[in-house]
Amino acid sequence: MDGVAPLFRMEGISKRYGGVRALEKAELVVEAGSIHAILGENGAGKSTLIKVMAGVVAPDEGRMTLDGREVTFASPGAANKAGIVCIFQELSLVPELSVADNIVISDPPKRFGMIDRKAQRRIAEEALARAGAADIHPLALVKDLPLSRRQMVEIAKALARKPRILILDEATSALTAADVSKIFAVLKRLRSEGLALLYISHRMNEIAELADQCTVFRNGRNVASYKAGSKSDNEVVELMIGREYSHIFPPKRAAVPATAAPRLEARKLSWADRLHDISLTVRAGEVVGLGGLDGQGQRELLLAFFGVLRGLSGQILIDGKPVSITSPSVARDDGIGMALIPEDRKTEGLMLPMTVRENLSFAALDRLSNAGIIDRAAEQRLIDDMVGLLAIKTAGLDIPVGALSGGNQQKVVIAKWLMRQPRIILLNDPTRGIDVGTKQELYQLMRKLADAGAAILFYSTDYDELIGCCDRVLVLYDGAIKRELVGAEITERALISSALNIHGEESPVGLGASV
């Protein structure tokens, strides 16, 4: 660092949103040819930091230098031109446009003033191949692709812009394990080509595999920078949350006897070509995990229980009695008492511009009203209970829920359903993109609800969560349950080998490391 100016440097960067300090004199040095991991809880300032770098927000004070020269970016376009390209956590793809249109969107190739479609096609195919996603058709509309494919398109799009500094903000959160290993190979190749990569992730194993340098943020400041591998995971997590990091998962209880009557049961559920003959049981007091690679039918299975899918064959039984669940409103009714915490809280969980109060009461409005008139006092009591129970941090109940942090938004989604005291709780990857502290609270809450008698079916893409939280795990592959793991059988090795549908106990060489 001394003598030669680093590729990019940020000094004394501060940013306030209203009264909240998002960044407070933050510093960052980025070197070419290295992968730099940024760690920190949500709200630690990571997102604001990269938004400043990528020209999305202007800092209140501080300076940035690129190649030793001071720079300011008025827009994301300006940052792109300077060679700083960011893959945001919230995808920046335009749904109605094709994959190829999206890849070249910031700077389409032109001929006679019009977009040169042949050149565009060539660039798109090259970029997809570079990102290891040559199987995606360049003319497919982005809205028709599943989330994990979209993320690959996002990465291809970033590469097509020939970046010098590439920022990946939780860019692997929706990827399948196979895609992650492809992307890691791509990132390592880019590093050897001299790019600087900033890598933001909540997944410690990914950081351990990729990063050369790590910087930890806390409360808007960089609190530590160190060479990757020089600190243990526990030390790093302590730096991040500033407190002792232990017992992240609550202790499990003695197993619910297998003879107990199941609260929720599925018999030979099949739907389209996505679910095949799924039979399972969940008993009261149990946390049952759904494992496997992303997109193997887990989401569809939860939607099937919740009455969203049409043309479902097979049987669903509640407390041993067959039921016909034809819509979410039937699913949540008292006889069934089901709640679904959806995957995408922004579209399926919350009405972002509406207030925290309104969002909390939606699912329980029928219980809180007499002849269609909402009983404000009863509503307030229940809301107070929930805000207390879940420790939701909000400046007030009457601010838009969109103003809360991701973790607190997720708490609102959960609280909304707990207001109905559900007997069956379906969770669809509820901890995606939320911080360690909130995750820990959610794990404890889940156990508490199970202890209070709820039956919980929990899908997670994070194997640690399945190991730490679940009494049993059902591993799905291609829409069918391939394996059931009980108690001590739930290990990373067992989860991975069954997720990849590999029989036998020995983990295949090389695969374990890449997941």
């Binding site: 827009s75 335009v94 969107i105 939607l303 899918l309």
Partner: protein
């Protein structure tokens, strides 16, 4: 790379579905119309139908540009009237004067569109509110220009553009084709056009990708003004007069929205093409003609137009019956 040829074709078809559906509806209705027309499928019948159809086609094209950006332009009908009134003053005299008049009329259309765009984009007003207000202003100016129907137009030019080329092809259709080639095709393939689509589909994603959203939307509104003015010119060519007819302006605005929807353009933005809207407009116009050949009382026309519009739009909604995941209803 890969051999995608077979799949390419399918993606193309999926993209053009709305346009092809509108074309299909139009052809079916037009065939029914001409086969029941006393004169049959003759150059005269086609010419008359074309001249009525292109007016709405131009206004619908204008509407398409704005709707693609997820906006709506409730002033297109009024720009259409204003330019009609203006043309009835200016598009007269020697060929030179006439040419200057045409240019002036088109420039006024561009200006009206640009004002809409500036208010919506830089003033950050809702498109629906902004264009109701500007539409009233444009109508007001039109009324001041022509308090009573009147004026005139260069009849040589008018007759040439509303007549037939080579004795068979309606000149108005040729002009429509030229306008598509000169305005729509370049726009839809330009960076600004793509920015308009991107802004309509997901403005945040477009912004994050460094797309020139503002310029794209501004271009869409401005060109919409121009297209409405071309429609206004043609109205003058057909009627030889200018008239600030309030009801007519309003119905053109509403019919343009109907035509756009018939043509497979999504009111949510980001999807559709002006070609589809043109067929939507021609189909919509044919509804009225159908009633004529079947000897219905003209009183029935609005009712029938409404019913046929409902049926046609429902065709596009049939896909919803096949949805097996109820969440897709809301996409």
């Amino acid at each position: 790379m890969k051999d995608w040829r077979v799949k390419d074709w399918r993606y193309w078809l999926a993209e053009q579905r709305g346009t092809l559906l509108a074309l299909g509806i139009f052809i079916v209705m037009f065939v029914i119309y001409t086969s029941n027309h006393p004169a049959g499928f003759t150059a005269n019948v086609v010419q008359t139908a074309a001249n009525k159809g292109v007016l709405l086609a131009f206004v619908a094209m204008a509407q398409t540009l704005v709707v693609i950006t997820a906006g709506i332009d409730l002033s297109v009908g009024m720009i259409f009237l204003l330019t009609n009134c203006l043309a009835s003053w200016l598009v007269v005299g020697t060929p030179m004067q006439t040419a200057l008049g045409v240019i002036a009329v088109l420039a006024v259309g561009l200006l009206c569109g640009a004002i809409n765009g500036a208010i919506v984009i830089y003033g950050r007003l809702q498109p629906i509110v902004a264009t109701i207000a500007t539409g009233a202003v444009y109508y007001g100016i039109g009324l001041l220009l022509r308090p009573f129907p009147g004026g005139s137009v260069n009849e040589d030019l008018a007759d040439a553009l509303t007549g037939r080329v080579f004795g068979v092809v309606p000149a108005s259709i040729v002009v429509l084709l030229v306008i598509v080639l000169v305005i729509w095709v370049p726009f839809s393939r330009s960076v600004l056009g793509r920015a308009a689509y991107a802004a309509g589909s997901s403005e945040t994603a477009a912004y994050m990708s460094g797309v020139p959203i503002r310029r794209g939307k501004f271009a869409a509104y401005t060109l919409a003004g121009l297209l409405a003015a071309i429609g206004g010119l043609f109205l003058t060519f057909f009627t030889y007069t200018g008239e600030a007819a309030y009801a007519s302006g309003n119905s053109y605005t509403l019919f343009s929205i109907a035509a756009v929807v018939l043509g497979g353009v999504s009111l949510f933005g980001g999807k559709g093409s002006a070609i589809g809207a043109i067929f939507g407009a021609l189909a919509f116009r044919t509804i009225g003609d159908l009633l004529f050949v079947f000897d219905f009382d003209p009183l029935w026309q609005p009712l029938f137009q409404g019913v046929i519009l409902l049926v046609a739009v429902s065709l596009g909604a049939f896909a919803l019956f096949r949805v097996r995941n109820r969440l897709e209803w809301f996409l």
